[in-house]
Amino acid sequence: MTFLFYLFAGLAIGGAIGVVMAKNPVGSLLFMVTTLAAMAGTFVLLEAHFLAAIQIIVYAGAIMVLFLFVIMLLNLGHEYKADLRGGAFSVLSFGLIGAIAGLLAPEISGAEAAPGPGAVAIDAAIAEHGAVGAIAEPLYTTYVVPFEITGILLLVAIVGAIVLAKREV
């Protein structure tokens, strides 16, 4: 378990670094897919099987393809020079991010965060409703309002995307 976790973690971090550093946008995208897949693995390890599936299908499958589609559309796939910011800016950014990481990591790792009653409740729910049902049940009862808002959100996104991406009025 632990080994697997660290493997996935290593993959995820490596992929993330790849996203940031890759010269070619397509490369970035592929690194991103790697990361997403590795995270799906950690989801599995955290007993979130349904989410792991969604992660692959929706994120890696749909959203990333959308990105790829746009990169291709804009014909950016041929760029092989890094557009990393250079010089002082990146050094400063690096320092800044390092500082933030230095503040965050000890705080988070130092906090007590052991699997609690939630793990038990999830196991029970999965046992009762199955992996999908465990999520679906609250989604359509307690969280019905946010769920409906999600619908509106998608409508907005569609309208926005259409209006902006349309070639000419």
Partner: protein, 510 residues
């Protein structure tokens, strides 16, 4: 009628204004794409009553219907505090502000839409949807709902910002807004996650209980509060999260800027207030210094930069940042007076800001031209009525007696007084003095500089809807300036049911 959220239908009633708006947005969209209203560009004629304008009027009807629903909700009482949706005075008051902002923004959009030949259906539809998103935020008692409402609003506004596709400034503004907005959303979301991690819930009431009882994990809570502050700080454009604001406000279509600066900010503040004052009440000591500094820096920096702006839209952008600073004082104060002050101020700010933008739109004929202060030379004398109106709006923005802006500022200061934030109050008034300079600068160009040619100012376009908006705005600004009593009382009453506040917080509860 009493709502019982164990029945799902009751969510429908509780969210009636939002639902009406969303539904109406679809109506507008569909009408817009239907053949008859499709052609916005070559129907010519009166910008008040052409095809595109019909959609505007249609959208206004939606706003009106939502407003009716909002009024109807006053007869509703709710049971239980842990529901996802609040039906309290606070939300309803905020809804009034959003609807007012939306209505006024639509009214001032007519000439812009006409001149820029925008797709009216989508434009008005997105405004309605954004408004709905704001209303979700205001009514949310759950961080997730706030987040989703925020996203509905934001995505709609991203689209609106980049809406004018002929204008590269608009696109640039859209990209900047979008990228930075999404960036901030990441922080915001991380904040929600951490709060969830700290308290085990995203429901504000539950969070509040957990925080007050001390059950929340302090590390996560502190981090969560930090990141939520950043998220909200971005949306309300508090320094140093304000960097997008001037560029976006300058680049976005002027009516959208008006809408953004008033309504988006209002929504963010309302949610900000509910989350921090209700949810994190028990952790006041943690976040109050952050907000104190945020408020102070925001007021100072925004007002100082605004001094050197020569573009009116950009100046108004910095002014809106400055106003965010004033409003942050209310959140820092975190008591009932401050909350009521915030609501009242949002109302006033919405009206006066949109009023000012209305005239900016009128002056900036055709594309986004004629936005420099110099372009206002002698404007007052060639268009005396508009000049007077703009002067009143500017004075109100500056917080001058006789206008609503003054009363709002007083209310904020009272809130600060109740929390004994004297230094912050002093910073507020001192920065206000700086703000006088740039507001009056417009006034001096208008009235004290030599006139431009009559012809130039004759191009100012003020169609009927904008006139309606202007009259309404100036009426409200002056009414609130001279007879603020009922509105103040209304704002005060609106925050009464907000929830636990002031317990264990120094300077509160007197």
């Amino acid at each position: 009628m009493q709502l019982d959220f164990s029945r799902q239908l009751h969510f429908f009633w509780a969210l009636l204004p939002e639902i009406i708006l969303c539904a109406w947005a679809m109506v507008v969209l569909i009408t817009g794409v239907s053949g008859r209203f499709k052609d916005a560009e070559n129907d010519g004629g009166d910008p008040s009553f052409n095809n595109a304008a019909s959609l505007g009027w249609l959208a206004l009807v939606g706003v009106l219907l939502a407003a009716m629903a909002n009024g109807w909700l006053y007869g509703i009482t709710e049971v239980g505090r842990d529901s996802m949706v609040a039906v309290d005075g606070f939300r309803l008051f905020s809804n009034w502000v959003f609807l007012l902002a939306a209505g006024l923004s639509i009214l001032i959009s007519f000439s812009y839409v006409y001149r820029q030949r925008l797709q009216a259906g989508e434009f008005y539809g997105l405004i309605l949807l954004a408004t709905a998103g704001m209303m979700f935020m205001a009514g949310a008692r759950d961080l997730i709902v706030i987040f989703l409402g925020l996203e509905v609003m934001s995505i709609a506004v991203y689209a609106l910002t980049a809406f004018n596709r002929r204008d590269r400034k608009s696109a640039e503004a859209g990209l900047k807004y979008f990228l930075l907005g999404a960036f901030a959303t990441g922080f915001f979301l991380y904040g929600i996650a951490l709060v969830y991690g700290a308290t085990g819930s995203t429901n504000i009431a539950a969070v509040s209980r957990s925080v007050a009882s001390g059950a929340a994990t302090p590390t996560f809570l502190a981090l969560g509060i930090t990141f939520l502050t950043i998220g909200f700080g971005f949306k309300v454009s508090a320094v140093p999260f304000h960097m997008w604001t001037p560029d976006v406000y300058e680049g976005a279509p002027a009516p959208v800027t008006a809408f953004m600066s008033a309504a988006v900010k209002a929504a963010a503040f309302v949610a900000f207030l509910r989350v921090f004052m209700v949810g994190f009440d028990g952790a006041y000591e943690t976040w109050y210094p952050i907000l104190w500094w945020l408020a102070a820096i925001t007021m100072v920096v925004a007002n100082l930069i605004a001094l050197v702006q020569s573009n009116v839209k950009r100046m108004l952008a910095y002014s809106s940042i400055a106003h965010a600073g004033y409003l942050l004082v209310a959140i820092t104060a975190s008591n009932e007076t401050a909350a009521a002050g915030l609501l009242f101020y949002l109302l006033v700010y919405t009206v006066m800001n949109i009023g000012a933008f209305a005239i900016v739109i009128g002056v900036a004929h055709h594309a986004e031209e004629r936005l420099q202060v110099e372009d206002y030379s002698g404007f007052g004398w060639s268009q005396p009525l508009l000049g007077v109106l703009l002067t009143i709006f500017l004075l109100s923005l500056a917080g001058f007696p006789g206008t609503g802006g003054f009363m709002g500022k007083i209310y904020l200061l009272q809130g600060a007084a109740d929390a004994q934030l004297w230094y912050l109050s002093v910073i507020l008034v001192l920065t206000t003095i700086a703000s006088y300079w740039y507001y009056l600068r417009v006034a001096w160009f208008m009235w004290m500089k030599s006139e431009l040619t009559e012809r130039q100012h004759a191009l100012v376009m003020v169609p009927l809807p904008m006139r309606v908006a202007l009259v309404a705005s100036v009426f409200i600004v002056l009414y609130l300036g001279f007879f603020p009593g009922s509105a103040l009382e209304f704002a005060r009453a609106s925050v009464e049911g907000l929830g636990v506040m002031g317990a264990g917080v120094p300077g509160l509860g007197q």
